[in-house]
Structures are given as structure tokens and as C-alpha cells.
């Protein structure tokens, strides 16, 4: 099970004490808000519309039952009894008081958690495939190299004042569930003929106001060279990245402005400048870290689970949920349980303290004491015996956590939007709720097949609208909220940025517009053709016609 080590323990305690002092000095007026802001942001504390917001890091989305229970405790004690799981595999609390924030950091430190790298112009906490270490298609667990990157980058003096924030995502599987091509740097594992691991290095992806798909600068970087090579990229960025305009400061702009070839040449030149690398990845160190992510001792089981099969036959609701919410595990007799935090009419990613405790208990009892947060704002139980799945489902159902819409149109990603966020230009949650109600019937969702519907409440794109098969962006037009629809985005290994269909819609028009899009797809799809494939085949025209012809 993931743990942070003694170095982390020391620096997290020191950081917590340091932050307590900073917060006290702020409240005493010794330091100004301008002085305090970067300090609080380095500890994940934002000021939002209604209160302070604390963003807590969940490295690789990986949590123990005890840690999830502590998140529930914090929700109940310091917040209003709930938290919001984010598209960065983290959790945010919406009603935090500055005067209690250091106590919360201490409570987090008690369970080896913190809010470092969740904000500011530094290397942010690394995200990975939420099925890491469990997925059937995985080549290797991406978390050890992620952890190495975290240890190298945390408080790294050279990379603590970058032109802008910097996000890594890593996948160890050919099916990219970590959206690596829309991050500043994406890494993807490959094995060569000799069985050696290498990493494909992709740079310059991102969303926000200038969405871009990353370019590959190395196809197969030997594992030992990962950190020195990343250092070279960071140095080129630190040197040439624009600091004069924050909208042009992300590395994607640099890659775009220089051109991929020139950028790559700069990186290679920088890399060649330091031949004897002190940061070369030592096998011994990587092996030590790998132990933190050691595969749990799973039982030898048959692929056929009679109890599970029987429960599906006897209970159609369970069968439907199992069909949609389970994923293939690499170990026979086990499965990955995806808990949808998208109940009908609910707020995507929100969970109450009580629900967190239910999930913590299920993780402890049935999933090797492990839970994951996915960037799609769901919770994963990565190692569940098939024959335990029915019991898990029953407990989830009792806690209103058994939505059977995983990967379907009801499984909506939405940022907090203007209901909470100081940067937002429009609300996103009410749109998600209206859509979730409109398509509440899971049979109807299954009829539409896999659809990623993502909603952002501003151009910063925390709701990943650019890479939604259907994306919705909330904007402000002369004081009114209106919503732009994009189609054809994807964050998979075949990543693409969605295309804006046409003029935007008022909030109340959005559900019908989405229905029109889905029904248009149903009419034109070929047998077995999924939404995205159909869109890629036919392009936006039929959807535009259907949406705007009668308008």
C-alpha cells in the first residue's frame, strides 16, 4: 500500500507548523494578503465565493480506508458534511475557515496526507490511471515512476517558481485513462523486445483557453533516464516559457510557438549538456518505491464466480450495475468496482462524510484496504473478489452510491462552476443535474452507449469540456449564463480537442440540445458504432443541421 516515507513525514510536519505560523501572522496583520496568498496557495488554500476552499492532494488518487475516513472526519468537523472529488484526483472542501486551516493540515498529516502541490506555479501532484495496479490491460503500474517524479519535484527549488502551473499524468496501459496527452507532460509505458521498460514522453498538451494535444518528443526513453530528461524539459521551459502573459505561460504555448521540432532540439541540447547525471534513476531506489505499490496478496481463484453469477440472475438491478460499473482485473476471480458519484440529479463528485465512511469500510473489507479517486470524479475499489461484489453493491445501494451509469451519459464530469468558484463565468452543476435527470433511465443511457459528457463553468476547463465526446462550456453573455457545445473531444490514446458546433444555448435549452445530438447519433450510427467513432466518421455537419436547422 502506498505510504509516504520518513522524508515526507518530516517535511509535511515542518510545512504544517510553518503554515500555522503564516496563518497566525496573517490574522494578526503582520503579513498582508499579497504576501500571504502565495503561501496559502502552496498549501492548497484558496479563497472562493462563499468561504475558503482547501484542496487536498490524493497522490495517484490512492487512498487507504483510514485516509478516506479522515477525509470524512474533516468534512464533518470543519466543513458542511461533504467534499468534492476533483478532476485532478483530489478532494476539495468548500466551507473552510482560515482560522481552522492549520488544524486541518495537521489532521491530514496524521494520516500521511497534505495539500502540497495542489496549487501554485509548481509541478502539481502527479496523476495516473485510476486502475493502476489492477487493470487487465496494464503493462506496468505507473505509480512508482509517478512517485519518483513526486519526490524529485516536491519543493524542488529550481522548479518552484515556474512560469505557470505544471501537470504530469502517467499511464502504464495502452488504453489511456489518465488523459496523458492533455497534460503538460504525459508519460506512457512501453516494453521493447527485450522486455525492458521505456517511457514515451509527450509534451505540451493541455486544456484551458488554448487546448492542445501533446507532441511526442521521445518514443522510448529508457527508465533510468526519465528524471534527467524531465529536468531538461523543465529547464527549457523555465528558460523560454513566457512570464509576461499568464495566458501564454503554459508549456503548450512554448511548444507551439517554437514548433515541436525546435522544442525537441532544445530539450535534446539541454539534455546533452549534462552527460553524467546525478539524477539518473537508480534501480535500487525505484525498487524501494515499487514496494510501496506492491501488488496485494490476492487469492488464487477461479475465473468463474458462482455466487456472483447467481446474484446477477436473481437481481436484474444488480446485473445492470455489474455490467456497467465493473472493469476487468488482471487477477482471475477479482474485479475493479467503479462507484459512480453521479446519482440521478446529484452533484458530480460530491460525497457526504457518511458516504465516504461507507466507501472506506468497503475498501477495508473488500478491496485490500485500497480506494482510488478517478479524474472522472468517481471512486474505485480496485481489488474486489467477484464473489464479494453483490455484498459491496448492497452496501453501496443503501448509501445512495449504486448509480449504474459508469461510462455512460449520466456519468458527467463537472467542475464546481459559479455555484462555488471565484473564476467561473457560469454554473455547471445545475446543467449536470438537469442532464442527469433527463437521461435518468439507465436503459436509455445504455442505448446511447459510452459517452463522455464534460462540463466546465469557464474557459479554464477544470471540467475537461474540450476532451468530452460532448463538451459544454458555460460562459457569460451580458450578464446571462449561456453554454457552448463542442463535439468530438477525447482524452484517450487517440486524443482530440472538441469542435464548437455553433452558437450557444441558454441553460434551459441545453438538455434538449444534448438530446438532439444523441438522437442524431442514434439515427446515423452503424451497427455497434460508438458515439465518438460515429462523430469522427461523419463530422459535425449532421449534428449542426439537427441542432440549428429548426432554430
Amino acid at each position: 500500500m502506498y505510504r509516504y516515507d520518513e522524508f515526507d513525514h518530516q517535511f509535511v510536519s515542518e510545512r504544517t507548523a510553518q503554515f500555522r505560523d503564516q496563518a497566525n501572522r496573517r490574522m494578526a496583520g503582520v503579513i498582508t494578503e499579497d504576501e500571504f496568498r502565495p503561501l496559502r496557495l502552496m498549501n492548497g488554500l484558496y479563497l472562493q465565493l462563499h468561504a475558503y476552499m482547501l484542496r487536498v492532494a490524493i497522490p495517484y488518487g490512492t487512498l487507504s480506508g483510514k485516509q478516506m475516513r479522515q477525509l470524512a472526519y474533516i468534512a464533518d468537523k470543519y466543513d458542511r458534511g461533504y467534499g468534492h472529488f476533483t478532476t485532478r484526483q483530489n478532494i476539495q472542501y468548500n466551507w473552510i475557515k482560515l482560522e481552522e486551516s492549520a488544524d486541518i493540515l495537521q489532521d491530514l498529516a496524521d494520516v500521511e496526507m497534505h495539500a502540497i502541490q495542489t496549487s501554485g506555479n509548481c509541478i502539481r501532484n502527479v496523476t495516473t490511471d485510476h486502475w493502476a495496479g489492477a487493470a487487465a490491460d496494464e503493462l506496468l503500474d505507473p505509480r512508482p515512476i509517478g512517485e519518483l517524479i513526486r519526490q524529485w519535484s516536491s519543493l524542488h527549488p529550481e522548479f518552484s517558481f515556474l512560469p505557470r502551473k505544471f501537470k504530469f499524468a502517467i499511464t502504464g496501459a495502452p488504453h489511456d485513462r489518465a488523459a496523458v496527452k492533455v497534460h503538460d507532460i504525459g508519460l506512457r509505458a512501453h516494453k521493447n523486445d527485450k522486455g525492458e521498460t521505456g517511457w514515451e514522453v509527450m509534451v505540451g498538451g493541455g486544456q484551458g483557453r488554448t487546448p492542445m494535444v501533446a507532441v511526442t518528443v521521445r518514443d522510448f526513453l529508457p527508465e533510468k533516464d526519465v528524471i534527467p530528461y524531465l529536468e531538461a524539459i523543465m529547464r527549457v521551459y523555465n528558460l523560454y516559457g513566457r512570464r509576461d502573459n499568464k495566458y501564454k505561460a503554459r508549456i503548450k504555448i512554448l511548444v507551439h510557438e517554437l514548433g515541436a521540432e525546435k522544442f525537441k532540439a532544445e530539450v535534446e541540447a539541454e539534455y546533452a549538456r549534462n552527460p553524467a547525471q546525478t539524477t539518473e534513476v537508480e534501480q535500487r531506489e525505484l525498487a524501494r518505491i515499487e514496494k510501496y505499490f506492491a501488488k496485494p496478496a490476492l487469492e488464487k481463484l477461479s475465473r468463474f464466480a458462482p455466487h456472483f453469477e447467481e446474484a446477477k440472475r436473481a437481481n436484474p438491478d444488480f446485473a445492470r450495475w455489474a455490467k456497467n460499473n465493473l472493469a476487468a482485473h488482471q487477477h482471475d476471480g477479482y474485479t475493479i468496482v467503479n462507484i459512480s458519484l453521479k446519482p440521478e440529479g446529484g452533484i458530480p463528485g460530491d460525497a457526504s462524510g457518511e458516504q465516504m465512511r461507507v466507501m472506506a469500510t468497503l475498501g477495508e473489507r473488500y478491496s485490500q484496504d485500497e480506494l482510488r479517486v478517478s479524474h472522472a470524479q468517481n471512486i474505485v475499489l480496485p481489488h474486489v473478489k467477484l464473489d464479494d461484489v453483490f455484498a459491496v453493491w448492497q452496501a453501496l445501494k443503501a448509501a445512495d452510491l449504486a448509480a449504474a451509469n459508469y461510462g455512460l451519459v449520466g456519468d458527467i464530469i463537472a467542475c464546481p462552476g459559479l455555484d462555488y468558484c471565484a473564476l467561473a463565468t457560469a454554473r455547471s452543476i445545475p446543467i449536470a443535474q438537469a442532464l442527469s435527470r433527463k437521461f435518468a433511465d439507465v436503459a436509455r443511457q445504455e442505448h446511447y452507449g459510452p459517452v463522455k459528457l464534460n462540463i466546465s463553468g469557464c474557459i479554464n476547463a477544470c471540467g475537461h469540456h474540450h476532451v468530452g465526446h460532448i463538451g459544454i462550456l458555460g460562459l457569460d453573455k451580458k450578464g446571462e449564463e449561456f453554454y457552448q457545445i463542442t463535439l468530438g473531444g477525447s482524452s484517450s490514446e487517440k486524443a482530440s480537442i472538441g469542435t464548437i458546433l455553433g452558437p450557444g444555448f441558454a441553460a434551459h435549452e441545453v438538455p434538449d440540445a444534448i438530446e438532439t445530438i444523441l438522437e442524431t447519433y442514434v439515427k446515423l450510427r452503424e451497427p455497434g458504432e460508438e458515439f465518438l467513432a460515429a462523430y469522427r466518421r461523419v463530422g459535425p455537419k449532421p449534428f449542426k443541421e439537427a441542432l440549428y436547422a429548426t432554430a
Binding site: 494578503e33 465565493l49 467561473a424 445545475p430 450578464g479
Partner: protein, 112 residues
């Protein structure tokens, strides 16, 4: 016909807990926008600004700014949806924030 008085209101977040507050005529910070001083004259605006700046210095509030608003029969309506949401709490959680605590403004984020 009811009297509509247009003007500006000074708002900020309380430093200790981040709650949205509004500057009143007596120079206090209230959680209720209805108690806010609504001003039109440059001189009055300047007075709000200087009071807010002093209270920022005194660590009472942070992030102060003026918002457009109007007073309708003793109720204050912020012009922007964003600001109306700040006077209420999240529109998706009517059980939380000012709207649940008796300190809400009188105007919904979106009015039909």
C-alpha cells in the same frame, strides 16, 4: 410603482472564515446584502473604499471590491449572477450558506 435606487455596494470576504460580507452605512460588515450601504456619489464611493481599505489593514476583511446593485423596497439586488450567488450560497445546495442561515439576499441568482 416601487422606487428603484441604483448604485454600488462594497463587498469583501471576512478574513477569518472567508464569508462574503457587505459594508453597511454604519461602517460595519454585514453578511446580509440588504444591510449594505448603496452609494451613487463619487464621494460616498470613496468613503466606502477608504473604509474597506482600513478594514483590510485591520485584518477584518480581504479581497474588497465594489459591485453594481440596486435597492428595491429596502432589498438590495446585486446586478451580476455571481454576486447574487454570493448573497445566497450555492444555488445547488439551498440547505447551505446564507440562504439557509437567515442572512440571504432577496433575489435569486436567475430570476424568471
Amino acid at each position: 410603482m416601487s422606487q428603484i435606487e441604483k448604485g454600488q455596494v462594497m463587498t469583501a470576504n471576512r478574513l477569518r472564515d472567508g464569508i462574503a460580507v457587505f459594508l453597511t452605512r454604519s461602517g460595519e460588515w454585514s453578511e446580509k446584502i440588504d444591510e449594505a450601504a448603496l452609494v451613487q456619489e463619487p464621494q460616498a464611493t470613496a468613503a466606502l473604499e477608504s473604509r474597506a481599505a482600513a478594514d483590510v489593514k485591520a485584518t477584518l476583511v480581504t479581497g474588497q471590491y465594489l459591485i453594481d446593485a440596486e435597492r428595491i423596497e429596502s432589498k438590495v439586488r446585486a446586478t451580476l449572477i455571481r454576486e447574487r450567488i454570493r448573497t445566497l450560497g450555492p444555488s445547488v445546495r439551498p440547505d447551505l450558506g446564507k440562504q439557509a442561515e437567515g442572512t440571504a439576499g432577496a433575489f435569486a441568482a436567475v430570476e424568471g
